[in-house]
Subunit: 490 residues, 2 copies
């Protein structure tokens, strides 16, 4: 066995144990008995200890010094291993443990504070989390920019400055589009009656199949918050149903199928290796969002979905395909990111990016956060936040120290815009196929250009290889302008 093989064998076991951890989370969110929480925490804690021990094993350093990659993919494997190993070693064990304990507590306090609509209840815990995060960021940054250092966990090679420029170009155009759309006098119908949950789930299963989800290597269950879980040969998704809002179920399913098929379609040669999963959070989100929006909410595909709705539920108060398309894409003012339409969504993310960057840099303190949030919200959304649960307390991320995660949501939408533009230039007949419920012309192209490569290329390079140009916000803006200009006649 060569040193490279020895290292890869060790790494493969670590990856396999990482999959086991993912399976425990899936179990917890879907099938675990309610009384098992406490024991499960110990099981996951023990496994986490094992994983941490392996990820900091000094033999990795020795292997890395001597290993010779047999090919270009091997070079990338070693790079990935080296990056993760060095990052793990930079954070002192005590700091890691403090962060784990503090975020676990903070998560509970956040949930209580949100339920009580009481920011003061959460603020002291958030301060603790933020202090530890700053400490971690500066350990990782090694003299560089602390926020950039955090970003690398979610979007390798991205920088805050670069995102700031891109998001700065997005923001005024989105605010302007939002104002135009909400100012439109055109009536856009709403879907507004009850739809039996069994029918929703039956259509949901059809949607998953239509988008290429392979149930031989996964399964669909229900969960409070939909998610996708696992890599390789076992990638499971969850969805949810809401009695009066079937599109919540349908588009949650399509979104998670985007994440899941990405993992299912990674080249099997990378199975249980560092390259055997999605390139980044941003690229992952590009797949879930292009499946959900540019394909799933297109005029062509919603036409097909309208027919499935009529088959399953009979006449449901929406007169025709055009009305259904408009209803599915209806825009509305709202406080909550996860309920936002395509026009509003990125505005939510942009403000979080600016706020968390200021928090990490020390330009904003936890006590001043609600005011900063509310003031920015009023500026960008034209309405005032009513209660903290709809404002600064709405997202779980900061309680879990996930600083650097938010921007990948918008980056995913930006990538999706780029990919959609390139794909529609290169591939003909996409809409004709979508109108018949056939996503293959589109999903095959995404599979070939993006998904099969796993982490083989850095996110920016992967998008550039796929589209022939560096990522830019322009295609997303053009797409939104055209789509919502058309629906709202503005």
């Amino acid at each position: 066995m060569t040193v490279f093989q020895e290292l890869m064998t060790f790494q493969r076991e670590t990856e396999a144990l990482g999959q086991v951890m993912g399976r425990l989370s899936w179990d917890q969110e879907t099938v675990m008995p309610e009384g098992a929480c406490e024991q499960r925490a110990e099981e996951m804690g023990a496994l986490d200890g094992v994983l941490h021990g392996r990820r900091t094993d000094p033999r990795i350093g020795e292997w890395l010094e001597m290993a010779q990659a047999p090919d270009e993919a091997g070079v990338r494997q070693l790079e990935e291993i080296r990056v993760e190993f060095e990052r793990t070693l930079r954070v002192p064990a005590k700091l890691s443990a403090d962060l784990a304990r503090t975020t676990s507590l903070a998560h509970r306090v956040w949930a209580e504070a949100r339920a009580a609509n009481d920011y003061e209840m959460f603020a002291p815990k958030l301060s603790e989390v933020l202090d530890l995060t700053r400490e971690k960021a500066s350990a990782l940054a090694d003299g560089g920019d602390p926020y950039d250092a955090l970003l690398q966990d979610y979007e390798p090679a991205a920088t805050g400055a670069e995102l700031e420029a891109m998001f700065g170009a997005l923001r005024p155009r989105l605010v302007e589009l939002r104002e135009r759309v909400l100012g439109s006098e055109r009536h856009v119908p709403a879907i507004d009656r009850e739809f039996a949950e069994a029918g929703q789930m039956a259509i949901s299963t059809k949607l998953a199949e239509a988008f290429g989800y392979d149930s031989a290597y996964g399964r669909i269950d229900k969960a409070v918050h939909p998610f996708s879980s696992g890599s390789g040969l076992d990638v499971r998704i969850t969805t949810r149903t809401e009695l009066c809002n079937p599109s919540n179920c349908f588009y949650s399913t399509i979104h998670e199928v985007g994440h899941a098929t990405y993992e299912q379609n990674v080249d099997r040669a990378y199975l249980l290796t560092p390259l055997g999963r999605g390139a980044s959070m941003g690229v992952h989100e590009s797949q879930s969002r292009i499946y959900e929006n540019q394909l799933g909410r297109s005029r062509a595909f919603t036409g097909w979905l309208y027919a499935r709705m009529r088959e399953t539920f009979g006449e449901f108060g929406v007169a025709n395909e055009d009305d259904f398309y408009a209803a599915i894409n209806r825009c509305h003012s709202g406080f909550v990111r996860t309920e936002a339409d395509e026009v509003h969504y990125n505005l939510h993310v942009l403000m979080r990016f600016d706020l968390e960057r200021d928090l990490v840099a020390g330009r904003l303190e936890v006590t001043d956060l609600p005011e900063a949030w509310n003031s920015r919200f009023s500026t960008d959304f034209g309405v005032d936040v009513d209660v903290p649960a709809n404002g600064v307390l709405q997202d779980v991320h900061w309680s879990e120290a996930l600083f650097g995660y938010f921007p990948t949501y918008t980056l995913g939408n930006v990538y999706a815009g780029c990919l959609n533009q390139a794909m529609r230039t290169e591939v003909s007949g996409i809409d004709e196929a979508l109108a018949m419920g056939d996503t293959r012309p589109a999903t095959d192209w995404l599979g070939e250009k993006i998904q099969q490569h796993g982490k083989r290329y850095l996110p920016k390079d992967l998008i550039a290889r796929a589209t022939g140009a560096a990522p830019s916000e322009a295609p997303l803006l053009d797409y939104l302008d055209a789509k919502f200009g058309d629906i709202y006649g503005v």
Copy 2:
């Protein structure tokens, strides 16, 4: 932290990881996508490696030398840790690995050979497994009896000689009872029509509740081969349905509930410690069998079940409670252990015990096994084995090197006989309660006398403490004689 606490903390993590391994098996048998097999094998292999590393960690030896137990339970904890540690160290790593690889292969070959009804196909692999088992047994025995050494994995402190004496006393009485029962001219009705699976599962859930299974700490799913899985706060069971045989579903459920409530009822103070599970395979089987047979197949309880059947399925061709009781306990000649009634069951086990003891001792070779099996079967059952799949190839155990496991099935029945006798002497009103579907007078007694103690006492001592006498086959024989003498009028 004292040395004792340090050791127990380490052990607790190992126990937690062992629970994770159990959860992966549960997942595999119930919800895993079919395509995930290969990846799952790697995941379980990696976790197995971690567990083996922890179980042979030299620090355990150092801790054991210095640890002071704070109380009597602590003394038992240390004993359990020491026994497992010393046993694990006695088996060389290479032998362990060879056994794991060979049994994994042998299991597949066995399944193919059974399907093809071809013993010759299986024999070479069985020889390999047996050779490795003999090697392991002699490593464990350290000069003592090899079969006794293997037994300890399943029934601590049991010896082959002692079992031989007990089983020797059982065998002629069982053969004689079998002949009497099958010779009876009395007509015992059979249940013979289709029962919708949803109705079977609904009754099954009621049965689980009636026997005290707590769904807050577990769940019921379907699987090809019913099993119970997990300890402590997450103990899951599976059952199966057969369209024309509802009692398969009902008594599989009750049997697994016996195993599962045992685990659920262990004193929470022992959670995730070496004492935090059933005392042995034999004691475990005593709980599943007393739930299933002495309680579940009693005249009193079957009367209650008859009413549930009528509620769910209407009139189903069995005239009254007495006929239903007889039908549920109907005896029939048959080749297959897992389908055997209470009269035949132990005869199946006794022959496997004698044969496997001879195999391990080298008194019987693999090539001579089918003849030995068939000849013994004719003697004890009065009929000739028709095909190998109904004979020597029917059980999975030997392909998996589980030599020493079989006798615990009968030992469990023997213990169940002892417990039933003592319980009915001490507790009044058991049958009156069972007739109303209330198992609590019986299950509370078992919870107090057996289940709460986990592995706190050695099996024999535990039974003696509960019943006031050393385990003996006599109560089981008395119970079978009375019950089947009554049903068959012999």
